[in-house]
């Protein structure tokens, strides 16, 4: 009889019983609705122990990779520790600041080396803690097994509580606390011929820089289009690195976009919002895999437009950045 651990309490699961039935029988209230493994109301995640494949059927591949499952159809084959979806169980760990440099006028590249092995996927994010407890989320631009350090792109916002601290007071050699990784916007191997569209605004490039290099390193053969947008050419960054990557890989196409034409308008910068430029260039997105990162309005609108342009919802991965402007 497998034992299900939930909220630190062990519950014995009877033969033929689902995780939902077991927990409910023991008086634990788990939200549920269809009880047929369809509506995902009872979505949970296995922290220890693997859920059976049948309990993951129909879930997005990034959720399956993180051991999410539907409790109503999960007859556990082994002991499991489970949490409700959204209840992220992560551990604080220390990391050393290895380097800090400018990517452009207002974006910093931070390299961190965790004190313990840190298992993550390119494109996920971490929470960065300031010593006084202020915390912000930053996407991981680094690729495991390829980059030694965790890489963050921090946009310094005027009056930004965390970002001005990063700029002024966080120095190489310092130790900071981080937790994670979190998020389901990452590359999942398989379907190497599928065309991929990456659309990001501002530091939305950070997770895409990770996803892009991860996909190429894992041998993705289908076309990969990146549309990176900013308010002006001055807001773009990693332009030379991306152009070099474009030279090196036949299947990678980079389109930098700027909302406003700048005085220093580089040749090859499209003067249009990145999402609109992507839709104009690629009106039919049927069978495409799509990653959308950055401004939440862009991400929400583009997600709907990409779906209406034929992309399957299960092929759309998003990371909307929510900026906190509180000064507390």
């Amino acid at each position: 009889m497998p034992v299900i651990t939930y909220d630190k309490q062990p519950y014995a699961c009877e033969d033929g019983e689902t995780v939902l039935q077991c927990l409910t029988r023991h008086g634990v209230a788990i939200p549920s609705s269809c009880e047929s493994g369809v509506c995902q109301t009872c979505l949970m995640r296995g922290v220890q122990g693997r859920p059976p494949a049948a309990a993951q059927q129909g879930l997005k591949d990034t959720l399956q990779a993180q051991h999410y499952f539907m409790a109503c159809v999960c007859e556990p084959g082994e002991d499991m520790e489970v949490v409700l979806a959204g209840a992220d169980v992560t551990h604080l760990l220390e990391a050393e600041v290895m380097a800090k440099s400018a990517l452009n006028d207002d974006i910093l590249r931070i390299l961190l080396k965790p004190a313990q092995p840190f298992d993550y996927k390119a494109g996920q994010f971490i929470n960065l803690y300031r010593p006084d407890g202020v915390v912000r989320s930053y996407s991981l631009a680094s690729v495991p097994r390829q980059d030694e350090c965790l890489e963050l792109h921090v946009r310094v916002l005027p009056g930004g509580n965390m970002s001005t601290w990063v700029r002024d007071e966080m120095h190489p050699g310092d130790t900071v606390a981080i937790e994670g990784p979190v998020g389901d916007c990452f590359y999942v191997p398989g379907r190497p011929e599928q065309p991929i569209l990456l659309v990001g605004t501002g530091t939305g490039l950070a997770p895409l820089w990770g996803v892009l290099r991860d996909a190429l390193a894992q041998g993705h053969r289908g076309q990969i289009h990146l549309f990176h947008g900013s308010y002006s050419t001055a807001g773009l960054y990693l332009v030379d690195e991306l152009r070099a990557l474009e030279e090196a890989h036949d299947n990678f196409i980079y389109t930098p976009c700027a909302d406003e034409p700048g005085d220093d308008m580089n040749a090859g910068v499209t003067c249009e919002r990145a999402d609109l430029a992507a839709l104009a260039a690629l009106p039919d997105l049927k069978s495409w895999r799509i990653y959308l990162c950055g401004h939440p309005d862009m991400v929400d609108v583009m997600k709907k437009k990409a779906f209406l342009a034929g992309a399957s919802l299960s092929d759309i991965y998003t990371d909307p950045f929510v900026y906190s402007m509180t000064s507390s």
Binding site: S33, C34, C39, Q40, K304, F307, L308, L313
Partner: protein
């Protein structure tokens, strides 16, 4: 043994094939897409999958109470018969696109029709 409606339509594979097409039609339908503004698309697609499974006569545990509670906030916003008509029409067009025979579409429409009063809180 006679085949169930769910099996005749093609079971879970048919639901999976139908859900994106159906949701796309709903979002493109100006009569009803206002009700779907700002919702989490993944959660909505999962609900639509549950609805399609139910309408195709598949395994489900949906009750009239679920339907009432799930739509009460929309009834407050003006959800009425014309919107239910639009959904059933989009459902029919989805199945037609998937080459489901007319008599089966009629059966699906009848199942969807059976929850109209619950959905509208009557």
């Amino acid at each position: 043994m006679t085949q169930s409606l769910y099996d005749k339509i093609g079971g879970e594979a048919a639901v999976n094939a139908a859900v994106d097409i159906f949701y796309r039609k709903v979002l493109a339908d100006d009569r009803i897409n206002g009700f779907f503004e700002g919702v989490d698309m993944e959660k909505q697609a999962a609900k639509q999958k549950a609805f399609l499974t139910f309408a195709f006569g598949g395994p489900n545990n949906y009750t009239g109470k679920d339907m009432r509670e799930g739509h009460a906030h929309l009834v407050e916003r003006g959800l009425n018969d014309s919107h239910v008509d639009a959904v059933i029409e989009d459902l029919g067009a989805t199945l037609k696109e998937l080459n489901v025979p007319d008599e089966l579409i009629a059966e699906v429409a009848a199942i969807a029709e059976s929850v109209r009063d619950d959905v509208l809180g009557r």
